[in-house]
Amino acid sequence: MEKENLKIIHEKNLRNYLEKVGVFGFVKKGKAKCEFCNEMVTLENIYALFPYLRQVKFVCEKPTCIRQFSIYIRGKHYASK
């Protein structure tokens, strides 16, 4: 069976990860916004992050945002094939 990678990170490694990607301060200051609902993303409510035009985009853990994120993935995933 063919397999797709699903990249995940443990929340214990998240702070270091965000620091390396260069957005920890941004999140800490409350400037990070969910790409779909535009609400503030914190270390507690972050669901996912993804790159877009060399920028880091955030998704919060609201189910509606996860669903919209899935729609985005479907489009992007197909285009990358």
């Binding site: 397999k3 990678n5 699903l6 990249k7 995940i8 443990h10 853990e61 996860i66 994120f69």
Partner: protein
């Protein structure tokens, strides 16, 4: 001293053991062989089904996972890969011609993240240590379903159609693999989402009716998969979206059809989806003259450019034998056998009363399929099913 006592013991025990072996030796040997064979079969089965092995192994890491992050990561990897891939693999066996795509969990760390995050161009999901139990599994599964199921077809569906299909597949995944997450899933995903969008609610309700008749995966998802192959690389258009809606309505009507009624149409003739449901059930039809009757009927449908035939019959040997006779009356150039599988269906027996019945589905496909893109290109891109023509026997 010790040696002599052992010798004495041997001397004392040997006749008893010999006597026991002579009396019960064969039984002991049988038990030993049976145990060995069972063990070997279990190992072979798990080896052939690594997803099930992962699911079983994941239980070993539940308690250590509460204390150690490493064990928690192992648990999550085994649990997610085992359950999601086992479900997706099951779809592959139900939907012939569909090549299932599973997931591989890739833990990422901060090492080299500054480069790899942008180079990989992939999303990263955050797994929480605290909060609602099972939230991680549901949230990750929904993304996995979006990524892996029917990627070709979903490109041509409307956002609501694609989303409703994902939600319904998610529901089936959680029902089968982790019923304990259903509460969270319904509360957070299903209810909110279907309240937000009435069309999704309507579509999901239709899928439920189609699934109750056992046709969601074997017919609906299979047709969507065929559709994805046929219109591959064409622009998304409203015609396809409307046709999928019409096909959903066609299947819903069939699923609600009262047994024996002749009022419901059994043929769906769209531009892209062209299929017919052929019911072989009436006893008086299952005769020698019945073979030519069904043969003529299928020939007529082939002339109307019907491409897929779903032959449904009660799961009885006489019917399967009859189906084989009908199938064998066609040449391999005309029709090919795609799938033969037993399934359970709730059938409307009248007065809106449904009864669970053992049923059998046989999928035949015409060899004259209309595709809407360059034929040379399609040959390179799409694998043809094996040119096999096995007997339509019940699948083991």
């Amino acid at each position: 001293m010790l040696a002599s006592s052992v010798i004495n013991l041997n001397l004392d025990l040997t006749p008893i053991i010999q006597d026991f072996i002579s009396k019960y030796g064969y039984i002991l040997l049988c038990i030993y062989l049976l145990g060995f064979l069972t063990g070997a079969l279990i190992i072979f089965y798990l080896f052939k089904n690594p997803e099930k092995l992962k699911k079983s192994l994941s239980y070993l890491f539940i308690i250590p996972g509460k204390f150690f992050v490493v064990a928690q990561k192992v648990f999550i990897t085994l649990d997610f890969e085992g359950r999601i891939n086992d479900f997706i693999k099951g779809l592959g066996s139900m939907i012939y011609g569909y090549e299932p795509v599973g997931i591989k969990i890739k833990w990422t760390t901060s090492k080299g993240a500054e480069q790899s995050f942008f180079d990989d161009d992939d999303l990263v999901i955050v797994i929480k240590d605290s909060g609602i139990k099972n939230k991680n599994f549901v949230n990750a599964s929904m993304v996995a379903i979006a990524k892996t199921t029917l990627p070709k077809t979903k490109r041509y569906l409307s956002a609501l159609q694609a989303e409703s299909v994902d939600l319904f597949i998610g529901k089936k995944l959680f029902e089968k693999e982790k019923p304990q997450v259903m509460d969270y899933f319904f509360a957070e995903f299903f209810d909110k989402k279907i309240t937000d969008y009435p069309t999704i609610e309507e579509l999901v309700n239709k899928y439920h009716i189609i699934d109750r008749a056992g046709l969601f995966f074997p017919i609906f998802i299979r047709e969507l998969n065929f559709l994805g192959e046929k219109v591959f690389y064409h622009a998304k258009n409203e015609e396809i979206i409307q046709e999928v809606n019409a096909f959903i309505d066609f299947l819903k009507l069939y699923a609600e059809r009262e047994i024996g009624t002749t009022k419901t149409s059994l043929i769906h003739q769209g531009r892209y989806c062209r299929c017919a449901i052929v019911i072989i059930g009436k006893f008086f039809n299952i005769t020698e003259s019945g073979i030519s009757l069904y043969r003529e009927y299928i020939k007529k449908l082939l002339a109307q450019k019907i491409e897929n035939f779903y032959i449904i019959s009660p799961k009885a040997k006489i019917n399967l034998k009859f189906v084989n006779s009908v199938l064998n009356s066609f040449s391999q150039e005309e029709l090919q056998l795609y799938r033969s599988l037993p399934y359970k269906a709730f059938v409307n027996i009248g007065k809106r009363e449904y009864r669970l019945m053992d049923t059998h589905l046989i999928v035949l496909r015409s060899n004259k399929i209309i595709r809407y893109f360059d034929s040379t290109y399609q040959k390179n891109y799409i694998k043809r099913p094996e040119q096999i023509r096995p007997e339509a026997n019940e699948e083991k």
